[in-house]
């Protein structure tokens, strides 16, 4: 008779553990998805700042037509990207295009001195920092979630409920190459 009670106790404990792990996975997954949309918020902020930047630069550097087309196209692509992986790739293209704009602006001292341009530059730098911060937060959540579903006892729960690991939002391929500084 006593064995029956022990067996029931063990089953009860197993069920409680299963529920706890399952809920932990669900909660972390939702947090990770929310962290992704936080990155999205910052990316949109950058998208909104760009038309203004293009107009300001056009005012001083009318002949840089290729540049403007490149930036505008990159921005449109980034806005229309579907899914995390495509979005990450298109956003990196946009980051590179923006870098070219600021590099070109170095040749136009009047543009550099313009208050509007400086303010936009500040805001864009801040947005880049915010994207960086949101990315770090997202990666932290991804790391926690991936650990939780891959650690030994939990991996059985994860397998049963079909949880797949998230991908880390890595640095741009272009950024990984160390820039050469030539004097």
């Amino acid at each position: 008779m006593i064995f029956l009670w022990i067996a029931l106790g063990i089953v009860a404990i197993l069920i409680i553990w299963f529920i706890a792990v399952f809920n932990g996975i669900v909660s972390l997954r939702n947090r990770t998805q929310e962290a992704w949309s936080d990155i999205d918020v910052q990316l949109k902020r950058r998208h909104d700042l760009i038309p203004n930047l293009v107009e300001t630069v056009k005012g001083y550097a009318k002949h840089e037509k290729e540049l403007f087309e490149k930036v505008t196209q990159a921005r449109a692509d980034a806005i229309n990207a579907k899914g995390a992986k495509e979005a990450a790739a298109k956003e990196n293209v946009l980051s590179n295009a923006l870098k070219s704009v600021f590099a070109v602006a170095e040749n136009y001292p009047q543009l550099r001195a313009s208050e509007n341009f400086q303010k936009l530059q500040d805001e864009l730098t801040d947005t880049e920092n915010k994207i960086e911060a949101a990315r770090r937060f997202y990666n932290g959540n991804v790391r926690d979630f991936n650990i939780k579903i891959q650690v030994f006892p939990n991996s059985m729960v994860a397998g049963m409920t079909g949880s797949k690991p998230f991908e880390l939002f890595g640095a741009a391929e272009g950024e990984k190459a160390t820039p050469e500084v030539k004097f």
């Binding site: 936080d38 910052q42 801040d126 920092n129 770090r136 932290g140």
Partner: protein, 286 residues
Amino acid sequence: MGFFLIFVIGLGYLLSWVFDNQFILVIAVIIAVVQALVSYYYSDSITLAVSGAKEAPRKEPFLELHRLVENLAITAGLPKPKIYLINDSAPNAFATGRDPKHASIAVTSGLLDKLNKSELEGVISHELSHVGNYDIRLMTVVVVLVGVVALLSDFFLRWTWFGGRRRSDGDSGQLGLILFIIAIAMAILAPLAGTLIQLAISRKREFLADASGALLTRYPEGLASALEKIAKDREPLEAANKATAHLYIESPFKETSQNRGWLTGLFDTHPPVQERIKRLKAMISK
């Protein structure tokens, strides 16, 4: 919070039973409820007012500071706290607030002048970690519990002094007397032990905030360098007093003796700066 309330009310009930007086219970309940509510909801405004802090608006010259705090808050996944400025040339900072949604961070003008950007990031990430680790709420509960322990021992001492001297002549005299002396010794030492435990907890949480901050910025050198600068600056903070000293990132009183003994070290709210810098530098992966 609720647990504490029940605890104090239970204590009041016990005491009123012991002293056969209902009035004590009523008073105890009123005091406990009022004090719990006030300290829970207003501790941050009280702390800020006592320290002479004024809210810093999001525009020059505080725009960079606001952006810095915003970005760190995004990295931590915390809502952005309110930012306050204390007009004092001694570099220091503190965080207050019962949970991340109602948090505030205060920095001195000296801090903004003397630290560079990565050092400032280190300090702010340390303060933000205090908020995220609910350290403020933890220390409030600890302080109150220590106070309750002190009250309890006080009551016990008075009770034995004035009432409990009914010695049963002879029979269990020896053992009873020894136990009695031990009880009195414990009653005297208990508040002291409570305070030492509170300070030990405070030091441990400071180390934790250092480590959490370094995890946020992935750059422990920033905070290490900031701590070196702050420790070298011997100017004491005018607005600080013993009640708020433990909240600051480094003790605002600048005790002058560098070779504090082990015993006096137990009474510090913050761990020694050299130890904190050493631990931070150990985190730097080569």
